[in-house]
Symmetry: C2
Subunit: 380 residues, 2 copies
């Protein structure tokens, strides 16, 4: 059973501790994404050095390659990827609907074609749980249908119906007491649908509740408006996880709505594309402006990258297509996110979270997001 203790609150916002079989996690927590069993370009040791306490891995990618069976035979996901801390796996639903070519979706599940080799595959509630049981993460997700936004009302409604139906099946077939199971609230931007979905999932009973289907095309304002209407329907004593979010400003809005966990590929994806996060806003490290700059990516940052390398060197690494450019920038970005979260947690405990905007002007930059493909660049 997943431990969760709230230690400070301010309105809907809370700070606490979540305990898993692989260790404790301070919340609100940011989870870097290790899509295929690796947080891209960063070793688990470097990842620990960024202050990361929990990571996410993608069931869809791992099931396609190397398959859950291989991961299980190689000792499970923790042993496989050399990360001894807590791990969360998603259900594969989001990736099936965003990456794969869908053949057909029925009330029973999804037939799709692998984006890697075109093979025809099937995923449903039972297989999603079976695969996640084999992977062995500390927290696993119920199988859900995640439509893009905007979608016609009947599409969102059908997705909610299926998500509830599949959540029941997942709850029934999941046996392992060591793996916490979260339900996923869908419903797009329709408050009634969201609240109906949340109530149904709470009725089934889960160890925690995820909010899916956001950061998939809507604006920051739309997301910020609906989030508190969802969290108010979720039990206060269970962790709440907003999936796939996001930019620092989105994270702040989510935390203010009572969210406890988030994940996003931005620190590593943007790091690979030469974008470095700083409290004042992003830097594009390929820029000529950094050519002779002997300063660190961010003044005052205690990360491995900022302690040893100049902006000028990192610019050179990107220009010379050296692997170390993405690696060092990803390390900084991950540390940036973890320092941001640590500051959020501290300010919650001090009862003055709104002050974060003065320390992190970047939170004002979160005005829109793009969901979907792994290949998106950061264009702001």
């Amino acid at each position: 059973m997943l431990g969760f203790r709230i230690e400070a609150t301010a309105g809907a916002t809370r700070a606490g501790i979540m305990t898993t079989p692989h260790g404790a996690v301070e919340t609100p927590a940011f989870m870097p994404v290790g899509t295929a069993g690796s947080v891209k370009g960063v070793t688990p040791q470097q990842l620990r050095g960024t202050g990361t306490q929990i990571i996410l891995a993608n069931t869809y990618h791992l099931q396609l390659r190397p398959t859950a069976q291989v991961v299980e035979e190689l000792g499970g996901l923790h042993r496989f990827m050399g990360w001894e801390g807590p791990i969360l796996t998603d259900s594969g639903g989001y990736q099936v609907f965003s990456l794969a070519e869908i053949n057909r979706v029925t009330d029973e599940g999804v037939e799709f074609r692998s984006h890697i080799d075109g093979a025809t595959l099937w995923l449903d509630a039972r297989t999603a749980i079976d695969v996640q049981n084999k992977l062995g993460a500390d927290i696993i997700m119920a199988f859900d249908e995640c439509p893009p936004l905007p979608s016609p009302p009947h599409v969102v409604q059908t997705a909610v119906d299926r998500t509830i139906r599949w959540a029941k099946v997942c709850r029934e077939v999941h046996q392992g007491a060591d793996q916490a199971l979260f339900g996923i609230v869908q419903g797009g931007l329709d408050v009634d649908l969201r609240q109906r979905c949340a109530a149904a999932l709470v009725g089934i009973g889960f160890d925690g509740y995820a909010i899916g289907g956001l950061s998939v095309g809507e604006t920051h304002e739309e997301m910020s408006a609906i989030l508190p209407r969802i969290t108010e329907c979720l039990p206060a004593d269970r962790p709440r996880y907003l999936m796939g979010v996001g930019m620092p400003g989105d994270i702040l809005a989510a935390v203010q709505a009572g969210v406890d966990m988030l994940d996003c590929v931005l620190p590593t994806r943007n790091g690979r594309n030469s974008y470095a996060f700083t409290a004042g806003g992003p830097l594009r490290m390929r820029n000529e402006a950094h050519r002779l700059d002997d300063g660190p990516l961010e003044a005052g940052c205690d990360c491995e990258t900022c302690q040893s390398y100049s902006r000028g060197y990192i610019r050179h690494l990107f220009n010379a297509a050296e692997m170390l450019g993405p690696t060092l920038t990803s390390i900084h970005n991950l540390r940036f996110y973890q320092r941001f979260m640590a500051r959020i947690r501290a300010l919650i405990r001090e009862g003055r979270l709104p002050a974060i905007g003065e320390e992190y002007p970047i939170v004002a930059l979160a005005t829109s997001r793009e969901g979907g493909s792994e290949e998106n660049e950061w264009t702001r």
Copy 2:
């Protein structure tokens, strides 16, 4: 002045200590290659963890991008790349002759076109020293002409004449007392030319002597045959550096001929291409055979990779095109090379270097090499 103390000998073979402004180096020493100011895919911290004591950087690449002036303004090569240990830079000669499109070679220098942007550039003895002074390595090289093998006799002879002429200029213009200057012996497979070149360089007087123009197309036997004929002409009390070598069997042959330093891209280049070195021979980590293998790349290896990751995981990383595949395999390969060198040094001191073949059957695999392009795969 470069310190060099020989502490054990066996025939031509020697083991000792070289001291530089940035620390001591046990010899015979293997130098990983940080072509453009980065040992590809590996951080300086990870590099230190492999037991590496000295690295090589390429003057040609750094002068093209970001230029020596930028490196100098960013604090010199040690600060620039975050490596506080000893560094050696080559003269750029080998890369000009192997990577660039040559416009014309005269007794004064070489006009060539950059392999990066096609710009017309000029390199001669003075500029090679000037650039290396700016980079600030502990050991720098005289500018040489390095023809491929086989080449017609008059080509090799002209290259020797120019190499001697340029070496004199380099010795005259190099001022920095903190940077040791090595001459480079050329002469192909012609013993008389090699010995004439060595004698001329010794007459000029250098802090150490490099042997260039090998590992550029000749066989292992040809290289092994000529090496002792060169080293016998070099002063015993100065370090000898065989450039661009190589496979473990080549390294052994060189050490047996009295070579003290070597460099090669093989551990990292092959690592990026999924080849892992082991004492018994190479493994291709993409192979299906490793799919369910929970063992380390090499049993008994103490490297970061072998301590934490299975062959099955590393195979998966390569199949999924994850950056960590090249990184983790490069770390292992570098540690393999450094453990191999440490064992060579220990056996020299014990007076039984030939026993290395029992511990490292891979030394028998060194039967041929390919020089030149950075893109060559390991095809054995």
